[in-house]
Symmetry: C2
Subunit: 233 residues, 2 copies
Amino acid sequence: MTSTKDRILETSLSLFNRQGERNVTTNHIADALGISPGNLYYHFRNKGTIVAALFDRYQLQLLALLEAPQGPLSWQVKVHYFEGLLASMWQYRFFHRDLSHFLHADPALAARYQQFVETVLVRGTVIYEELRSSGILALDDEQLQGLMVNTWVLMSSWAALIHGLRPDAAADEGLDERLMRHGVYQIICLEEPFLKGEAREHLAEMKARYRAADNTSELLLGHMPRLDRTGSE
Amino acid sequence: MTSTKDRILETSLSLFNRQGERNVTTNHIADALGISPGNLYYHFRNKGTIVAALFDRYQLQLLALLEAPQGPLSWQVKVHYFEGLLASMWQYRFFHRDLSHFLHADPALAARYQQFVETVLVRGTVIYEELRSSGILALDDEQLQGLMVNTWVLMSSWAALIHGLRPDAAADEGLDERLMRHGVYQIICLEEPFLKGEAREHLAEMKARYRAADNTSELLLGHMPRLDRTGSE
């Protein structure tokens, strides 16, 4: 049976993702659960402690995904990683949308976030090295490092980027999910030049799996881009 | 002679960049200029209008850089673009650090930002197409689009990313600038697989020009990465 604490976290996550963390109060969360605010405060003394507890869950989920792989890797393993990344990005999208706000508001969370990024970079590098030694990627050490950092920038920034460009997605879960899937497509674009062998043969299939629109600019802007003459107005 | 309005903008920009926009009040700005708060309010009714006016300047500067190029391009033109990008990122870094906050707080600014991103994507694509037809980049249309979007994600997110990971850089302008330069290095890493001809011959030189550390993770974290056993604590 799910504990009240777990139910508070699950409901908060769902409300934060759909309505934005700033627009959700602890009273909204208690209302949605049909419990008293006093009962909620018994488990979490304020909204910040809920955000921090959700960060713990996000961290555990992503780091489990990045456990050192067992044995040689195949191109299918890349699908596994992409699906896992997408699930994490989607499930905790409120967190990445307002990341800089959360880090600014809670120094303890910021310290844990730095530790988390460190672990992600180390484990991600191990995985890229395994992909290289399994003959899936062809790159030198400097290129591997550059790719790892760029993948992290893209993954951790994508939710905020689309949130700023497509505010309408907040009220349209289908659109929001397409936008997040396209973030995985952009990660595939990063890796593409380094793919070889079987992984390269399956590149078109991988791109098609996550591509949410033929024209990325159109997807990000909500219309076909027009060349603006003045650059302002 | 510089007008009071210009002086207010220049001083605000400098204070925002060094101290963070949230920590700077209109009284701080008036103090730094040796003018009365009333004089400042005569020109700008609140801090938000100063941020919006600085966004206009940032936009004009970046869009001027992205004017359609004249004639065939050389690898030196890439240096010109990188230097211009770096100057804009550095000069208006406060804006990119807290971008999602500004867009959330000011819907009119958010609308102008969307228009700006649209123009950047269109003009950036024109430049990448010119680089391709000048024999500097070898890529197909889909790869070009993917590269354009990933370059924009990296450029617009880098300041916030390093701000979250290296809060110590706020008090160390030399470190802060090295971190921003390394953002250009990461953009070069994005383009590297597609470079050909003379541009490829000068790749090592370009990388060396912007690389701020041999180990990017070490630069971002402030120490050599350690493999964390638990992933939490």
